[in-house]
């Protein structure tokens, strides 16, 4: 047939939005880098660079959520658990390695050189003193190895998602029941972490993560910029990978699963394998996002893993617009930045005379109302409005 098929276009030509996104991200990154304190201009404070870097990590987990929910139709309320696991994994190394340096320094003055056992005991006492212990639990086995902890950042969320997903999808748990199940998983993890004998310092969590071992001489201005750039690179890479996946034939299949799962089965596709693939790969990306986030946040505690965080994630993606990756980025960036502006005292309180609206309390109400309005009047979210504008012009 000569009139068909149309010549196969390249991935970028078919998805111009990827290029626009990468260009916008690059511009933004260069802008922030130039304006940061590290380069001397100092128009953007170090703490705001950290906020922006953390926001990029939120954008990364949001596109993962968009793939699993917006494209594949699995409303997971567990992806922040994977994010938290990534954070804990990197946090263990950060805390261990830094404490080791401090202990080595303080013991250096002794006449008799300390034995290895004494050093280990001293590190354990430093780290676990707050929960009345000084022994290293088994899960800290690899904490002295950055390489192993980085492997854990990827492996533990991946394996947990694989096993959990396999059990859930195989039993054909779908829809709201699956959401509840993922939420139960998240809650179980948070409750476990809250225990003092969990081996992860209970509700104290891990702290001092902003201090990178071996870089004590570098100021936070430089460290924050490095993590900001790393977060931007991770977001760019994640965006390209997910855009490629959703553009592939597999992207068609997972959207078909979202719209009519049993019909896909009768086409001969093993639906469970597809869901498992998407669930696992997005969990891994969530873990990586977490590992980049917590060194910028400085502290991780079990409250971060609580189910509410995963619900926020769903709200970001819904407001930003499901089923379009840039929508998830817009939603996550906008809502999380607004959230810290409103709750951080940035927004001026409104005095109505008889009542004073304090945004710290009222932000959640505003967010809830916005969410309801978006769901009712713009079900495709901000990304959907964006699409309309582009098509009109």
């Amino acid at each position: 047939m000569s009139q068909t098929p149309p010549p196969r276009k390249s991935f970028i030509v078919r998805n111009p939005s990827v290029l626009y996104f990468l260009a916008a991200l690059a511009l933004f990154t260069v802008f922030v880098a130039v304006m940061s304190e590290a380069t001397g201009t100092g128009l953007i404070s170090t703490s705001f660079v950290k906020t922006l870097g953390k926001t990029l990590c939120f954008c990364l987990i949001a596109i993962a959520m968009d793939v699993v929910w917006g494209y594949c139709g699995i409303l997971s309320l567990g992806h922040f658990a994977f994010f938290g696991i990534g954070g804990y994994a990197i946090g263990m190394w950060l805390m261990y390695a830094r404490t080791e340096l401090i202990v080595a320094q303080s013991l250096a003055g002794q006449v008799i050189p300390p034995t290895q056992q004494e050093v280990t005991d001293a590190i354990g006492k430093q780290i676990f003193g707050v929960v009345g212990s000084s022994d290293f639990p088994a899960i800290w086995m690899f904490a002295d190895s950055l390489f192993m902890q980085l492997a854990i950042v990827v492996l533990v969320p991946g394996l947990l998602a694989l096993v959990f997903g396999w059990l859930a999808f195989r039993s054909r748990v779908t829809g709201v029941y699956l959401s509840i199940l993922t939420q139960a998983m998240t809650l179980a993890l948070a409750l476990y972490l809250f225990q003092n004998d969990s081996g992860l310092r209970g509700n104290n969590g891990l702290s001092g993560l902003q201090n990178i071992p071996g870089f004590a001489d570098s100021g936070q201005d430089v460290i924050s910029l490095v993590f900001f750039l790393a977060s931007a690179a991770a977001l760019a890479l994640g965006y390209v990978v997910f855009a490629w996946i959703t553009d592939s034939k597999l992207g068609n299949i997972i959207q078909a699963i979202r719209d009519d799962e049993s019909r896909v089965r009768f086409l001969g596709y093993h639906v469970e394998s597809y869901k498992l693939f998407v669930f696992t790969i997005t969990a891994i990306v969530a873990g990586i996002a977490g590992a980049l986030y917590y060194p910028q946040a400085g502290i991780i505690n079990p409250a971060e893993v609580a189910p509410i965080a995963s619900i926020y994630l769903a709200v970001w993606v819904a407001i930003g617009g499901r089923g379009r990756l840039y929508g998830a980025v817009i939603g996550a960036a906008l809502v999380s930045l607004l959230s810290s502006w409103f709750t951080g005292g940035g927004a001026p309180d409104i005095d109505l005379g008889f009542y004073k609206i304090q945004w710290v309390d009222w932000w959640l109400v505003l967010l809830g109302v916005t969410f309801a309005l978006v769901t009712l009047f713009a079900p495709k979210g901000i990304g959907g409005l964006f699409d309309k504008l582009v098509r009109k012009s």
Binding site: M1, T4, P5, R8, I245, S248, K249, L250, N252, I253, Q255, A256, D259, D260, S262, R263, V264, R265, F266, L267, G268, Y269, H270, V271, S273, Y274, F277
Partner: protein, 251 residues
């Protein structure tokens, strides 16, 4: 004509409701077969059992040259053996284009990673054009399937079945909601498909069945009541009583 599908002694009970009782049926290859019967005769359960959606309580189903048993296989396994199914309500993927719908159905490897790394081939594109031509949707290929008319959706779904290149095609009420003109075209598609494969059509509309001009199986209370040409079965006294006599037996 060799036997492609052989069902024997199939029974299925849903919490006390006997949907299928000792049902036996054989389909050859190629063959066009119409299955008719009043509401609750077990037509849908019959299809559910073949396609693996419902597991029968007893009986056996053998398929293909090496007579493989379908019992215990999953829906996707049965589908990849070469059994395609069209549902009563047209179920196409509305958010995706006609071309994407057909491409998903094309007979290609179905495993996750081969689908992820799949690259479109000109052979696949040609096959899509061919099917689109057959189902009258050539100029609709780039449209989202959700924008098609009801009849076009029915055709698209039949097209998706053809794209799977199944050996056995199960079609549930293909003419429902179609105009007279659309019905005629549907008859042609089905007749043509049945030249090279087995096609089972479940239908209420007698006029449509007459136009198919094929062997008819009458189901009643979950088992075969009569089998033969339409003229033959309509002469059967019991058939007239349970089904044709009840002209109000609706959809």
């Amino acid at each position: 004509m060799t036997t492609l599908l052989e069902m024997s002694g199939i029974s299925k009970n849903f919490d006390g409701f006997q949907a299928i009782t000792n049902l036996s049926l054989q389909i050859g290859e190629p063959e066009l077969r119409a299955v008719i019967g009043p509401n609750g005769a077990g037509k849908t359960t019959f299809m559910d059992i073949i396609t693996g959606k419902t597991k029968p309580d007893e009986g056996r189903i053998l398929f293909g040259d090496d007579s493989r048993s379908l019992i215990g296989m999953s829906e996707s396994e049965i589908a990849s053996l070469g059994i395609g199914r069209k549902f009563q309500k047209p179920t196409v993927f509305e958010a995706q284009t006609v071309r994407e719908n057909l491409a998903m159905a094309l007979k290609n490897p179905r495993a996750v990673f081969s689908v992820l790394l799949y690259r479109k081939t000109s052979k696949g594109a040609e096959r899509i054009e061919e099917i689109a031509d057959e189902i009258n949707l050539t100029d609709q290929l780039t449209r989202p399937a959700g924008e098609l008319s009801h009849g076009q959706k029915q055709w698209l779904e039949i097209g998706m079945l053809l794209a799977q290149s199944p050996r056995l095609l199960l079609v549930d009420e293909p003419a429902a909601g179609m105009t007279a003109h659309e019905r005629e075209h549907t008859t042609d598609i089905l007749k043509k498909a049945a030249k090279t494969r087995a096609v089972i059509v479940v239908e209420h509309d007698m006029e449509f069945v007459r136009r198919l001009n094929c062997k008819v199986t009458v189901l009643h209370e979950g088992s075969v009541l009569a089998e033969g040409s339409l003229d033959h079965v309509t002469k059967n006294k019991t058939v007239v009583d349970v089904y044709l006599g009840r002209t109000d037996a609706g959809d």
